[in-house]
Assembly symmetry: C2
Homo-oligomer: 339 residues x 2
DNA sequence: GTGAAAGCGCTAACAG
DNA sequence: CTGTTAGCGCTTTCAC
């Protein structure tokens, strides 16, 4: 292949360059570039032409500084690998882009300190922030709440923190899921949980514990919510003499299903398995995963609406948005095996 | 819940605010914030104190403007939902963060125009850009190559474009995969492809066609590389009277496996199925997916190394980096059924 | 309709 | 070791 080696590291053209080349003032270039109508069409056209030839692109940094806004939103998420979050972001994206906002995503290691650092950092660049399933502790959240830019919490409820929050009612959804299991005759469940730091995980476990009142005894262990974690946790779950394995999310459940298959344990004949999220794959992974469908679209919409309102200067609504999630029954749950 | 309604939209504190409050100059504040050692420890401590109380955070935009760099890298990716890309980004992340670079991710609709717009846009904010599986057409890529900031192409080879490229040798990997099928006695395959615009898709199909010489006849249809696309394409594949269904990627293959199961078609007894990528799930999804393992780690490393070199002012290496991918045989492929 | 000039918040010489 | 000053590239009054 021929190298077109003329990658002359020409200094990036600026308004000045374009202005000079077009024989106009920088003000005019600026006006043309930002599409202000009060410029002579012919002149505007010429400027555009020149700008194009020079490959001119306004500097985002300079623009942001002058404008006091880069028209961008930051999203901080724990796990790029979990498709679940993708849909939420996608939905926010469509709301945001209608209003000319760009969405910038930053992921982090999962460590709360690291997450806070990422958020703090990002906040210096964007107009608003959305934190997905944040594990930042309360003091950190309080700090964020004190900043002048809007910050919204999705999938996390932090009482006493003055931040808009949008959550799915995991507690009730999990309760329903447990009720489904109880009705099938299950009396003993093993919970392969998520991170001990995740609010959602605590909620889900709280619901499982509450189901004790209806005769469902349960034990838990924590994992990191990945396929491999589910796979690895399966033997533990089996040791619990449980007839049902309740998983923190779908990915974990897939791992469990895989290991059970290897071990020759029949699902749902010998043991039932449940997930949480309802990923696209949940209906496809044999034998079909009983799970909870999170309303991802509404979650994303609500997130955008909240930041947008704040961005527009509306007062913060202190009431958290609570969304309902629905149990989806598929092949992975069935009547409890009578020992 | 009590609203701590004192969200006074105080103007964001600046270096000035902090400097005044601490009785020092803005320069000192700047020095303290950027951790320059040449400041009296006691003074530095006081400034930090004040900054903290005021909740001061340097503006990224201003910093970027003054420094001429925001120490950030943009990654443009087609599909946040595909975990495959996650690992690549993660790996880049670890290289980048060691050097103090942040990574900002932007996804797009998949439309080449939209992708180009996203890339152009992002280029105004970041120091360098990595395009994953880009579908931008050649003129667009040429434009990007003319910009003064480094742009690197991952998973796309564009001859005649002066841009560093890092690709996995899909062609040879697919050839190997086909050879595996031929050895199992398969003579007729159906290819459930990806986007007609994706270079990787063209490469893979090219390899399948080339396998015709070894007795493997094949037909193709395009899809969008999702689970549901695979699911939907299955009947078409079956109509081809093929004994093997070769899929663009693992997600598509999962969809195919799911539909086959519904239809009561045995895998690999009646038909063999292959994927591409080797997602974590590939070994877990029954009956285990034969696929091609993409060296995601090295891919991410190479991407970071390339941008980093460019950022450091080293001359661009015109030679594309070519990585080898390996066929992983699992339960989804077996001897061809003799009709 | 267009230009001159000031300033967004920060950093980097350059003095002291 | 610390303050003064001059920009980084863009937008935006304010005159013309």
């Amino acid at each position: 292949m021929i190298s077109h080696g003329n990658r002359m590291p020409v200094a990036r053209p600026t308004v000045r360059t374009v202005a000079d080349a077009a024989g106009v003032s920088t003000a005019t270039v600026s006006r043309v570039m930002s599409g202000v109508a009060t410029v002579d069409p012919a002149l505007a056209e010429r400027v555009r032409q020149v700008a194009n030839e020079l490959g001119y692109r306004p500097s985002g940094a300079a623009r942001g500084l002058a404008l006091g806004s880069q028209r961008s939103l930051g999203v901080v998420m724990p796990d790029l690998a979990n498709a679940h979050f993708h849909y939420i972001v996608k939905q926010m994206h469509s709301g945001a882009s209608e209003h000319g906002y760009r969405i910038l995503i930053a992921d982090h290691s999962g460590d709360p300190e690291d997450e806070l650092a990422t958020a703090r950092d990002l906040l210096g660049y964007v107009d608003g922030l959305v934190l997905l399933s944040s594990r930042i502790r309360v003091e950190g959240l309080r700090w964020l709440a004190r900043q002048s830019r809007p910050v919204v919490l999705v999938n996390r409820l932090a009482p006493g923190v003055d931040l808009p929050m949008i959550v799915v009612d995991s507690f009730h959804a999990m309760l329903e899921l447990c009720s489904h299991l109880v009705q099938l005759g299950h009396r003993r469940a093993a919970y392969v949980g998520g991170s001990a730091l995740a609010w959602q995980n605590l909620e889900r476990w709280r619901a499982i514990e509450a189901s004790g009142a209806f005769g469902l005894a349960a034990t838990q262990m924590n994992s990191d919510g990945t396929v491999n974690a589910g796979y690895a946790a399966t033997e533990w779950a089996l040791d619990q003499e449980a007839t049902a394995i309740v998983c923190f999310n779908d990915l974990t459940a897939f791992g469990v299903l895989s290991r059970l298959r290897e071990l020759g344990v029949d699902v749902p004949g010998d043991v039932s398995v449940t997930g949480f999220d309802d990923l696209d794959l949940a209906r496809h992974f044999p034998p079909g995963l009983t799970t909870v469908r999170i309303p991802r679209g509404p979650l994303g919409d609500a997130a955008w609406d909240r930041v947008h309102a704040l961005l527009a200067g509306e007062p913060a609504d202190p009431e958290p948005t609570l969304l309902h999630a629905e149990v989806i029954v598929r092949g992975s749950t069935g009547p409890a095996r009578s020992n």
